[in-house]
Symmetry: C2
Subunit: 352 residues, 2 copies
DNA sequence: TTCATCAATGCAAGCGATTGCACATATAAA
DNA sequence: TTTATATGTGCAATCGCTTGCATTGATGAA
């Protein structure tokens, strides 16, 4: 292919201003408003004029300036998506769900990651508000304890839907999982399979998800008449170091755990690896259950039992709720609880 | 917990219009231009006035309207990121690299996925152009063969940097991997380890990355004096079905492959799983090499040899290049080749 | 023929910032 | 004291599009 002609480099430091509706209007000797209406397919414009205008727009290579349009319309057709991190299976699925609905309805999405920093989350909310997104869907950072930044968002009249990690003190629509039940089912499953000394590698309890896990862990152990060793009930930031250290400590105790419930799949994979290094047979000596899923869990040996969360569904639902608020401004504060599934694989099931 | 007080619902269908610089100006009896300058910390405004204005802005809960600002300034401080899919380790890393540099320099990023559809890619480019992003960083879809949409983008004076999957016919800055070398090193490694019948599970050759793999595969086999069985040289869309089918066919042949080079890590993981189901010992009966990496490769047994691509680095570099073009409008058309690393793990190395 | 009605288009005022230029003080230099 | 030079603000146009209202000419009803 030859680009000799087209590749004429434009050296001007300033962008050559592009074609506007005024250019079209001038060429056709009509009013800019007519051009605007025609391009928006208003039915107040005759078909003949529309055709003429559309053709001329095509000819001149006109491209709508959304910035101007947004300013005038007071709506950007953009929705902000705030997630802790982007490289995570669950959030990827949620984003996919959001995007699916959004793009169907003509909305763009602006993704930002908090990297689990409250400070960054605050800043992101300010930016979302400044860019005048039409709405925000967010999953709070682990550090987030207060809601001042959410209240500000609300004050700027930007609808907000929270998912997964939420703050119950803040009034808005929420799409969540029954985290208590997630843990309850996990513990019960392990109990039924004959495991007695169950450890919990949990997240920081400042976050609702993890505090609910923690509560369910204690309560269910009691219900199942299983011992709750305080040192088996860990809440940490779940870094690789945290996990290694926990494993080291646990397996140097007199009574060692025979099952570990891990807050997420990354941690579970690491636990599985470390367990193998300790020559522990899975699931005979040690069971592993992960409270979130990702494909890799099915590729390791043995496959790891995990809780499947409906990420895409959560995304879709959140987006639909948000659209309702955007369109009809009917603020609702109800919380939707999505179903999950405990998928039992070989890491936690054997005949004692 | 009680929500009674906070739940005062605002029923108004219309967003209460927010505070503008004019409101601040009126209250303080100064000109809007003064407010604008003060908030932008212009040094033409006295410190006293600035203080007054900033305080009033704070008091009224003022929040800059970026839309208006963008229209006036003719720049959005937003850069568009176009990737095939979001749920992919490599692209996640690239996005992280981009975001790191971008947020340091005060840029937001707008992420869109093509889902490997050329049609969607075209549409995304139109949107990017309409929203007047200051620049675009893109990795082309597998289907993309033509560059009309890129030329249009260029015509709207939006700088573009391509990474990984590029089109050599299109003039712009590119950040890529030496795909030929990736394959060459993989084949040579397998040859050195004593494998003879190497199969290639490749991607569609319409895409430069995969066609380079394919060429390197043939050439390196020849160089290493190894047989090239045409049926071992596969180019497909790499769906799960494609892979299953390929495996079925290959292992029903008279001469079965003793090594498989898989175009990406998902495929490699699946191959590894299927191989186990066929009771093939890895790496004794079958070696596996993946041409991209993800953490899961280190969790499976045996760990899978793979090519580590510098995703974050690619992202950072692309963003830096883009910023140069945005800032100085110095169009350069050079291609940067980033180093990769073949990490040899247990799936491809044993003592024959 | 006259008046109401309607369809098609134009006029002009926004939207909320930014910015070149003019203008008023104040200060310094002559 | 007069003139040059800063310094700090205000004026008004502008960015490109949207939209309420006015206008025009044509059509149909009275």
């Amino acid at each position: 292919m030859l680009f000799l002609h087209k590749s004429k480099v434009q050296i001007n430091p300033m962008a050559k201003s592009s074609i506007t509706i005024n250019d079209i209007a001038r060429e056709l000797k009509v009013a800019p408003s007519t051009v605007s209406r025609a391009l928006n397919n208003s039915r107040k414009i005759s078909e003949a004029t529309k055709k003429k205008i559309v053709e001329k727009a095509e000819e001149l290579g006109y491209n709508l300036n959304m910035v101007a349009s947004s300013l005038s319309r007071k709506t950007t057709n953009t929705i902000g998506v705030v997630i802790p991190v982007i490289n995570n299976h669950f959030y990827n699925e949620v984003v996919n769900g959001i995007e699916e609905i959004a793009s169907n309805r003509g909305y763009r999405i602006l993704i930002s990651q908090t990297k689990e920093s409250f400070h960054k989350e605050e800043e992101i909310m300010r930016t979302m508000s400044a860019t005048r997104v039409d709405g925000v869907i967010a999953c709070l950072s682990r550090e987030t304890k207060t809601t001042g930044h959410l209240i500000k968002l609300e004050k700027s009249n930007i609808p907000l839907v929270l998912f997964d990690r939420v703050n119950y003190d803040f009034q808005c629509r929420k799409v969540i999982i029954d985290n208590f039940s997630v843990m309850e089912q996990s513990v019960s499953h392990l109990a039924r399979s004959g495991y007695k000394n169950i450890a919990h590698l949990g997240g920081p309890t400042s976050c609702n998800v993890y505090s609910e896990h923690a509560r369910a862990f204690s309560e269910t152990l009691k219900k199942e008449n299983l011992p709750l060793h305080p040192q088996y009930h860990l809440a940490s930031d779940i870094t690789e170091e945290d996990i290694s250290e926990a494993m080291k400590i646990w397996f140097s105790l007199k009574v060692k755990p025979d099952a570990i419930i891990s807050v997420n799949s990354n941690a579970a994979l690491l636990v599985s690896k470390l367990a193998k290094e300790l020559h522990l047979a899975i699931p005979e000596n040690l069971a592993i259950v992960s409270l979130t899923s990702e494909p890799a869990l099915q590729y390791v040996e043995p496959q790891i039992t995990s809780v499947e969360l409906p990420g895409t569904d959560i995304g879709r639902t959140s987006m639909k709720f948000l659209l309702e608020e955007i369109r009809y401004r009917n603020r609702k504060f109800d919380t939707t609880i999505k179903p999950f599934q405990l998928i039992i694989r070989n890491s936690s099931f054997h005949n004692h």
